[in-house]
Subunit: 648 residues, 2 copies
């Protein structure tokens, strides 16, 4: 356990075609616009407890905390006086709200002072507390940060005093998990074991009998399942309920397992993760397929259209969980999932401009026809419950840390996106540079800029079926190079990155007869704006050549995929007609799914109808199909496992 | 206008493989079981106004009225002392509830006496009144019927006094339409013009300004659209809102148009009908595709699974509307739709046993996987809002009347289901007999048992592409025979009835790459119980032979369809895999959709994946595709129009 640590995100500066631009637009647009909306909507004024008489919401404090956390991260990447001033002013305002006993929640203090801790299952009190803790840890060293941090620690102390199985304590669990992982962060920041113990209390008491939610609030199934409180967490084997809450809880469990060397708890996390990625995850890494309860449903229930959900926050939460589990186990499956979610289901949630957001990340939108039941099929500037925009504020600046993991005398390159890094190993700092256009190209050059002996371990992604590795004129057949590096020495990694048609388990009934296009870790979608006819009329010819070209209207260097398709011509004059439709040959263009709806509103589809004219190509037939991959098997990707060995 | 009248249903006795059995099970099972449940649930005791203290609902009176209407019809087909006694006892109880001023509603009298007529948009008061009127007309001649009829007329008089634009009247419209058609029935039963005028008031005032629902109840869109009150009915061009309410309203409008020779109003009805059958109707005749509001949505929004609706009551309402419009216009499109709905989307709603009901008539149910959002995928014995079972009570006994329409010296055979009939033309009664297994066979023998001169006009169904007609050794090329018939003279009609694969307009995105099997008017479905593998894994080979055979476990004579399919073998080990799936050849068996889930719970699918290996067969290519069919064009079916001439 605890094979790796993630580097500080600010030690890694992406310079790639995807992450770097998203980080910049987050700092320049996402955070300032979210801050402006927090002001406009009253979220900041709400901390003027007695003077603000507008509408309030139970989750408002969390939005503000998440923006503050994002500001703190942004300031570590780039100085910004305005953002620094905002941090100081807002945290001062928040601190001014603290009750004498340490309690710190604008909603309950102003609106329902008598109802503090009364309805934990639905009122987001401990959830807001958790986000305050994360923000306080993030901004501790900023102007105003110390006072804020101290205030939040006092609040945390009150929570530790209040909840537990001890004398003069009461049992209680958060309805929306988050505080567990936040308390572990606070423990790491302070060294105060009490916070770790409190995280352990919230995790281990949860779902135990007598069930607090049942006894005190009359909560029953299915809501108990939706808040992951139907059984003790160590008895869980299947990801259930509200997806964001679930992955936040599992992340807290993983953090606790790491800090307490609890192999049993880690094993529970791994099982839960497996239940997600083997049965409940979109090809984009989106999770939580039902809008009713924003939740996981049964396995293979992964509709693409009007009914689906796949909340942006849930995809970000999955990355967070996958990153923790990778660092603890070194199993590349976790990085495969992280990479999939990152480049697809996370980044689809925000426009390239940085201030338009999806709550629901549809895999299919028909502009002309469909009533959307589960959320807007158009990115919005803000939401009444605006968790997704504020999640982007804090998620995007940190993305650089996913690129590497640091071990004992070892640097693992997880995602070879171009960057410059100063990586802190136990005994020294190693400067490293990665060049290339990953994820749009598989050709990667890694330059070691600090001389010294260490191991460079390269992840061969699950989607990659053939690769070549060379350093100093020598070819490697294992992706691990241990040597005494010279300053300036380069490693050349070449990952084959063909366009692949994926099909899915037939139990995902919405994908029957359909295929998704993927190239490298990037899932593609057809936008109607690029086609000669409505997307729905296209049947892709999967064994004709697919070429890579420019994507009109998208950032330079974004590769579009082009291939042959048949257009279905309806032969009837009413709704239904006898016999086969007619087909005409045409072309199709696909663009990275995460970039859809950046050129105006248009219909879009990830899983398109597909037709194979020949036998399956050898590349597919050659896969080791039929082997059951589980997490405990070690490596394993989303698709066929590579024939080349990978580390595990 | 007013080309035909429907015969009295009791003059036509079906002896066919479908309708006869359903009528029998209705009388023997549906009506008695619904009556028993009405008692169990308190719906009858609720008429003991002061003594019943259980739960009550605003729509309960309608359920009781519909069962009474069904009993009255059943008694016209078959004497039954128990049912007759029930009718007498229940109607007596209802009459005892009448207020001195004529008001008759158990809910408002007992629960909300001060709120009479206060919230018409949602409270179903006038809807319940309408059903009392239909029951009273149906049972007028039964023991107890006269007192009931008189009481209901007094209630109708109160309604006529209350609502209108006259002095001492108030404006008001039913939130759930029904009373319009009921008042026309009451007018026909009494000759009292006042009831017709009142129907005209409810129809023509509806949606006019100032909008009563808006002004008095603060109702706005989309609910105004859902109750068809967003505009005057004569300005409507598109079927909108709650599907049952819509078709009840349109039926009332058609009835009013007929009685007042109002060609403009009929034209509105025809336009609305066209909007349904050309854009908003399932291949089964199901309508109202969204469970949210039980309503019509945009055209082509016809999902097959978890999200769909297609309420049983709506399909019955569509039959009722189509029957009216056919009788007024003679356009066979209406009969095509009626026949489709009758044999598929209506009868699917009730088990062969007669006492299990679908509210939602799914076209696809996956037993293993899917969470159903819009209703149970299993037939239920009763519902808290139990409109569908009680609709069957009154609909099924009347089905014989759809077989014929009677004109001036003319008998139109609409649906050549076997039966014996005594049809009353203006000047005489004609005995007729139809033999054969229609809708399971296209070979039909019509025996004229009463000598005399009249025209026999045979409908050539929209699904039929070739047919032969002979009488007295002479072949006919037009389906109209005018002659002086000898008693015992027979007509032989032979309708080609191949199994057809239908595809649908690609805007129905759920049907992309899929086909529905239809033979004659009967739509088929694959039940998993009949297959060698899960239904979802099958791809039907549409140009291999399909044979007709016995359907195991279904009533003798029910034809199953058998053909070749490919079974998709998933080649991956996770959720997604690279490359084409593998296929194995197998067989499939399809049964009539209306009979699904009569052999236990099993997955079912109407629109299955399909594969054409050759060019489209000539039968399909030979259709007159591309011609735009509208109702005003005259004949036109669901699929390709027949090449043979048909009357219009």
């Amino acid at each position: 356990m605890n094979m790796y640590e993630s580097p500080a995100f600010s030690d890694v500066r992406p310079a790639d075609p995807v992450l770097a631009g998203r980080i910049a637009s987050c700092i320049e647009k996402t955070i300032p616009s979210s801050a402006a909306r927090a002001v406009e909507t009253g979220r900041i004024a709400a901390f003027d407890l007695d003077h603000y008489h507008g509408e309030r919401h139970i989750y408002w404090d969390s939005d503000v905390a998440k923006i503050l956390e994002g500001i703190a991260y942004a300031l570590r990447l780039r100085p910004d006086e305005k953002l620094a001033a905002l941090f100081e002013a807002w945290t001062k305002k928040i601190v001014s709200c603290q009750c004498p006993d340490g309690y710190l929640n604008s909603y309950f203090t102003a609106v329902k002072p008598g109802e503090r801790w009364k309805t934990l299952s639905t009122q987001h009190e401990l959830y807001c507390a958790g986000h305050l803790m994360e923000a306080a840890v993030a901004g501790r060293d900023l102007p105003g940060g110390k006072a804020f941090f101290d205030a939040v620690c006092r609040y945390a102390d009150l929570i530790c005093d209040t909840f537990g199985r001890g004398k003069n304590q009461r049992r209680g669990w958060p309805g929306h998990e988050e505080i567990e992982l936040a308390l572990v962060k606070l423990y790491r920041a302070t060294g105060n074991r009490r916070y770790l113990d409190q995280a352990a209390y919230f995790i281990d008491d949860r779902g135990s009998l007598p069930n607090v939610f049942e006894a005190e609030e009359g909560i029953t199934e299915p809501f108990l399942v939706n808040v992951q409180a139907d059984r003790p967490v160590r008895e869980m084997t299947e990801a259930c309920g509200h997806a964001v809450r679930a992955v936040y809880l599992y992340t807290g469990m993983a953090d606790l397992a790491r800090e307490t060397d609890d192999a049993g708890l880690l094993n529970v996390c791994e099982k839960l993760f497996d239940s997600i990625c083997s049965r409940k995850m979109y090809v984009t890494g989106g999770i939580g397929s039902s809008f009713q309860g924003e939740r996981f449903t049964r396995g293979y229930d992964l509709a693409n259209g009007s009914l689906m959900y796949a909340e942006s926050c849930a995809a970000m939460g999955l990355c967070q969980l996958a990153s923790r589990l990778f660092d603890m186990t070194g199993k590349t499956l976790y990085m495969d999932v992280l990479e999939t979610a990152l480049y697809n289901g996370v980044l689809s949630g925000i426009s390239l401009a940085g201030d338009d957001f999806f709550y629901t990340n549809y895999l299919e939108v028909d502009e002309n026809l469909v009533c959307y039941n589960s959320g807007s099929p158009v990115r919005q500037k803000w939401f009444s419950c605006s968790c997704c925009p504020t999640s982007f504020c804090r998620f995007l600046p940190q993305m650089g840390r996913f690129i590497y993991s640091l071990g004992d005398g070892e640097i693992a390159v997880n995602i070879p996106a171009a960057n410059t890094a100063e990586l802190k190993l136990a005994d020294r700092t190693v400067k490293l540079k990665i060049e290339g256009d990953y994820p749009y190209s598989g050709k990667v050059r890694i330059v070691v800029e600090t001389a010294g002996a260490f191991t460079l371990r390269l992840r061969i992604p699950g989607w990659c079926r053939a690769w070549r590795l060379a350093a100093g004129g020598k070819a490697y057949t294992e992706p691990v190079i241990t040597k005494n590096w010279q300053a300036g020495e380069a490693v050349e990694l070449d990952l084959d990155m063909p366009a692949d048609f994926l099909h899915s388990d037939p139990r995902v009934t919405g994908n029957l007869g359909r295929a998704a296009l993927r190239r490298g870790p990037v899932v593609y979608a057809l936008e109607e704006i690029d086609q000669t006819c409505p997307v729905r009329e296209l049947v892709l010819c999967a064994d004709r050549p697919v070429t890579v070209g420019a994507a009109p209207g998208l950032p330079a260097g974004t590769p579009a995929l082009r291939g042959t398709a048949l257009r279905e011509i309806f032969s009837g004059s009413g709704l239904y007609a006898v016999g086969a439709p007619r087909y005409e040959e045409t072309r199709f263009t696909a663009i990275p799914y995460a970039l859809w709806q950046n050129r105006g509103r248009t219909s879009m589809c990830v899983w398109n109808r597909v037709r194979y004219e020949k036998e399956p190509p050898p590349s597919a037939a050659g896969c080791e199909h039929g082997r059951t991959r589980t997490i405990t098997d070690g490596p394993g990707g989303l698709a066929c496992p590579p024939k080349t060995p990978r580390f595990s």
